[in-house]
C-alpha cells in the first residue's frame, strides 16, 4: 500500500518535471537562461553522483574528476565536430590525417547511424576514460586517504598538461581548444527534443549508479568505506571493488564531461582545471557525502544560485539612494565559499547527510508534527 503510494508519487513528480521541461521547450527563446541553468545542473548532478560513488560510498577520497571529465569531453568533441568544420577548428596546426580519415569514413555511414552517433561518441569517450582509469587505478589505488587525493589531483593535472601540450596539437588542438562542437541531439526520432536530452541521459546514468549502489557490489563498497580490514576479513576483495568503483566513477564523469562539451559548444584544457573538481566537491559536500539524492539536489541548488539567484551580489546595489558597499564582481563567490565553510564546520551533514530522499520521511515528518500537537492538547 505504502509502496505503491510511493511509486505513484515518484512517477507523478517525474512526470511533472518532464511536463515542465516540455513546456519550457515550447518557449525556448523566452526561457533560454532557465533551460541552460537546468541543463548544466543535470550534467553536474551526474558528475557529483559519480564523485559521491567514489568519495561517499567507497570512501576513496579522489580529486581526479576534472581529469576524467576532460578525457570524455575531448574524445566526444573530436568525434562530433563536423567534417566540414575541421579546417576551421584546427586552423593553426592542422589535424592528424588518421583522425580526419576516420571522421570522413564515419560521416559516410547511413542516417540511422548518424542519429545515434552522438550517443556512441559519448560512450566511446566514457569507455576511453574507464580504460585509463583501470590502468592508472592499479597504481593509484594502493594509496590511502589523503595521498590518494593528492595523487588523483596530480593525475588530473597531468591529463590537462597532456591535452594542452604542443605535441598533441593535431588531436586536441593544443592550447587553442576545440570549438564548433554540435549541441545536444534529439532522442527517439524527435520524441525527446534536444534540450531535454541531457536530462534523460543524466537520469538514466544516475539510475544505473543507484542500481549499482543497491546491489551486492554497492554493499561491498560501503563495507570498504566503513572498515577496510573488516571488509577484507569478510571476503571482499579490496582491490577488485576499489578499482571497480574508480572505473565506474570515471566512466560516468567522462560521460558527463562529454555532455559538458556539447553544452558549452567549445572546450579548452583550462576548463578542466582543479577549480572544476573543487566545484563538484562543493556540490557533493553541500548535498551530503553519501547521498545520491543529496548530490542531485545540491547540483541544482548550487548551480541555480551560482548562475541565477545570487547574481545580484555581483551587481552594484543601491538602496534608498545609499550605495550598499561590498556588492561588486566576485562577491557572489565569496558568499559561496563562506556557505561552504559553514556547511563544513557547523552543518556537517550537508543537506541530506547519508540519507536518501523518501516519501515516507516526508509523510513521517507531517505525522510527527501532528502527534506533537495532539500531545500538547491533551
Amino acid at each position: 500500500m505504502r509502496r505503491s503510494r510511493n511509486t505513484v508519487l515518484s512517477v507523478i513528480s517525474a512526470g511533472v518535471f518532464l511536463a515542465i521541461l516540455y513546456m519550457l521547450n515550447l518557449n525556448r527563446a523566452g526561457n533560454g537562461m532557465l533551460i541552460s541553468i537546468m541543463q548544466k545542473s543535470a550534467i553536474f548532478a551526474l558528475v557529483a553522483v559519480s564523485m559521491n560513488l567514489l568519495n561517499g560510498f567507497t570512501g576513496l577520497f579522489s580529486l581526479g574528476q576534472a581529469g576524467f571529465m576532460s578525457i570524455g569531453a575531448y574524445t566526444t568533441a573530436i568525434l562530433l565536430i563536423p567534417v566540414q568544420s575541421l579546417d576551421g577548428v584546427y586552423y593553426m596546426n592542422g589535424i592528424n590525417p588518421g583522425i580526419r580519415a576516420l571522421k570522413v569514413f564515419l560521416s559516410a555511414l547511413p542516417p540511422w547511424f548518424q542519429s545515434v552517433y552522438p550517443f556512441v561518441a559519448l560512450i566511446i569517450g566514457a569507455l576511453f576514460a574507464a580504460v585509463i582509469a583501470s590502468i592508472v587505478g592499479v597504481a593509484v589505488l594502493r594509496l590511502k586517504s589523503d595521498y590518494l587525493a593528492i595523487a588523483t589531483l596530480g593525475l588530473s593535472e597531468i591529463i590537462r598538461a597532456l591535452f594542452s601540450s604542443p605535441q598533441l596539437d593535431g588531436i586536441t588542438n593544443g592550447s587553442y581548444g576545440l570549438n564548433k562542437i554540435p549541441a545536444f541531439p534529439k532522442m527517439f526520432g524527435g520524441l525527446v527534443p534536444p534540450i531535454i536530452t541531457p536530462f534523460i541521459v543524466s537520469a538514466v546514468c544516475i539510475t544505473l549508479i543507484v542500481l549499482l549502489i543497491r546491489s551486492s557490489y554497492g554493499r561491498a563498497f560501503m563495507a570498504i568505506r566503513e572498515d577496510e580490514i573488516a571488509a577484507e576479513a569478510m571476503g571482499i576483495s579490496l582491490f577488485k571493488h576499489k578499482s571497480m568503483s574508480f572505473i565506474i566513477s570515471s566512466f560516468f564523469s567522462a560521460l558527463a564531461g562529454g555532455m559538458l562539451a556539447m553544452y558549452m559548444r567549445s572546450i579548452e584544457a583550462k576548463t578542466f582545471s582543479i577549480t572544476l573538481t573543487y566545484d563538484i566537491l562543493l556540490i557533493v559536500v553541500i548535498g551530503g557525502i553519501g547521498s545520491v539524492t543529496g548530490s542531485v539536489l545540491g547540483a541544482f541548488l548550487v548551480t541555480a544560485s551560482k548562475e541565477w539567484w545570487l547574481r545580484f551580489f555581483d551587481q552594484p546595489l543601491e538602496l534608498f539612494g545609499w550605495d550598499v558597499p561590498l556588492f561588486r564582481t566576485g562577491f557572489r563567490m565569496v558568499i559561496f565559499s563562506i556557505l561552504l565553510m559553514m556547511v563544513v564546520l557547523i552543518y556537517r551533514r550537508g543537506l541530506m547527510g547519508t540519507n536518501e530522499f523518501s516519501w515516507d520521511r516526508i509523510f513521517g515528518r507531517f505525522k510527527w508534527k501532528r502527534k506533537k500537537v495532539q500531545g500538547g492538547g491533551s
Binding site: 589523503d146 587525493a149 596530480g154 559536500v285 565553510m341
Partner: protein, 293 residues
C-alpha cells in the same frame, strides 16, 4: 646548449627551488603533527604576495617586509583556529575538505578584493641589483634565496632540536594523544607550527614573486601543490628533506622549461609524486631519520 646557459638555468632553478623549499616546510610541519594536507598553504603564500604589494605602497621596504610577514603569520594562525580546530576529532576527510574550502575561500576573496587581473609585484631595488660573473648574470634575489633558505632551515632545526617548544612539537608529531597526556599544550604547539609555516611561506613568497613580477589569485595553487610534492619527495615530516625536495623540483622544472617542454614541467612534478608514492612512500629521508616534526 652551452655550458653558460646550463649554469644560468641551474642558478634560476636553485633560486626557485629555495622558495619551494621554504613553502614545503610549511606542509611538512603541519602534516607531521595534524596529518593534514594544508591545501590552503599555497593560498597563504599567494595572499602574502598581495600583502606585500599593499604594504610596500605605504611603507619603506624593510618595514613593509615585517608588516607582510606579521599579517601572513596572523592569517595562518586564524585559519587554523577557525577552520581546523573545530574539526580536530572528526575524520581526516572532513579536515581535508575544510582545507580545500579555505583554499577556495581565499582564492575567491582575492579575486573579489584584488580582481583576477595580474597585479605587478613591486620591485625592491636592492634585491634586483644585478651581479655578473663572467657571462653569468644574476640578481641579488636569485643568489640570496638559496642562502637564506639554508640559514632558515638551520635555525629551524635548532629550534626543533634544542628548545622546549621544539621538543613539544616533536612529541606531538610522534604521538598526538600521548603528548596531550604528558601535559603538552597541544593547541599552543599547533599554533606555533602554523605560525612558523606561514612565516616561511611569507618569506618564500617575497623571494618567489620578486623574480616573477606579478601576482594573480590563482598563482598560489600550482606552486602550493608542487611544494607538497617536494615535501612528500623528501619524506613528509622531515625538514631538510622538504628543502632538498624543493631544490630538486625547482631545478628539474627550470631545466624542462629551458629545454622547451614547458607544458610538461607541471606534469613532471605529479609524475614524480605518483612514482615516489609507489616506490618509496616514506620519501627520500622518511625512514632514516625517525624524527617527525
Amino acid at each position: 646548449m652551452s655550458i653558460t646557459t646550463i649554469l644560468q638555468h641551474s642558478l634560476t632553478g636553485i633560486s626557485l627551488g629555495g622558495a619551494y623549499g621554504l613553502i614545503a616546510i610549511g606542509y611538512t610541519l603541519v602534516y607531521g603533527i595534524l596529518r593534514l594536507i594544508n591545501f590552503a598553504h599555497g593560498d597563504i603564500f599567494m595572499m602574502a604576495g598581495y600583502f606585500m604589494i599593499f604594504s610596500l605602497a605605504s611603507f619603506p621596504w624593510p618595514i613593509a617586509i615585517v608588516v607582510t610577514l606579521l599579517i601572513t603569520v596572523l592569517m595562518g594562525i586564524a585559519i587554523e583556529r577557525v577552520a581546523y580546530k573545530p574539526l580536530r576529532s572528526s575524520p581526516r576527510m572532513s579536515i581535508m575538505i575544510s582545507a580545500i574550502g579555505v583554499s577556495y575561500l581565499l582564492q575567491n576573496l582575492a579575486t573579489y578584493l584584488f580582481t583576477a587581473i595580474p597585479r605587478g609585484y613591486p620591485e625592491i631595488p636592492l634585491l634586483k641589483r644585478i651581479f655578473r660573473v663572467g657571462e653569468l648574470s644574476a640578481s641579488l634575489v636569485t643568489l640570496l634565496t638559496p642562502v637564506l633558505t639554508i640559514v632558515l632551515v638551520v635555525l629551524l632545526m635548532i629550534l626543533v632540536n634544542k628548545t622546549k617548544t621544539g621538543m613539544a612539537m616533536r612529541a606531538a608529531s610522534k604521538d598526538f594523544e600521548t603528548a596531550k597526556l604528558m601535559g603538552i599544550n597541544i593547541n599552543r604547539v599547533i599554533t606555533v607550527t602554523f605560525a612558523i609555516g606561514s612565516l616561511l611561506a611569507g618569506i618564500g613568497s617575497i623571494l618567489y614573486f620578486t623574480d616573477r613580477m606579478s601576482v594573480t589569485p590563482f598563482s598560489g595553487t600550482l606552486p602550493g601543490l608542487k611544494c607538497f610534492v617536494a615535501a612528500v619527495f623528501g619524506g613528509i615530516g622531515n625538514i631538510p628533506g622538504a628543502v632538498i625536495g624543493g631544490f630538486f623540483i625547482g631545478i628539474v622544472e627550470t631545466l624542462l622549461v629551458a629545454l622547451g617542454y614547458s607544458t610538461f614541467s607541471d606534469a613532471f612534478t605529479f609524475v614524480l609524486l605518483i612514482v615516489m608514492l609507489l616506490v618509496k612512500p616514506t620519501g627520500l629521508f622518511g625512514e632514516k631519520t625517525m624524527e617527525k616534526v
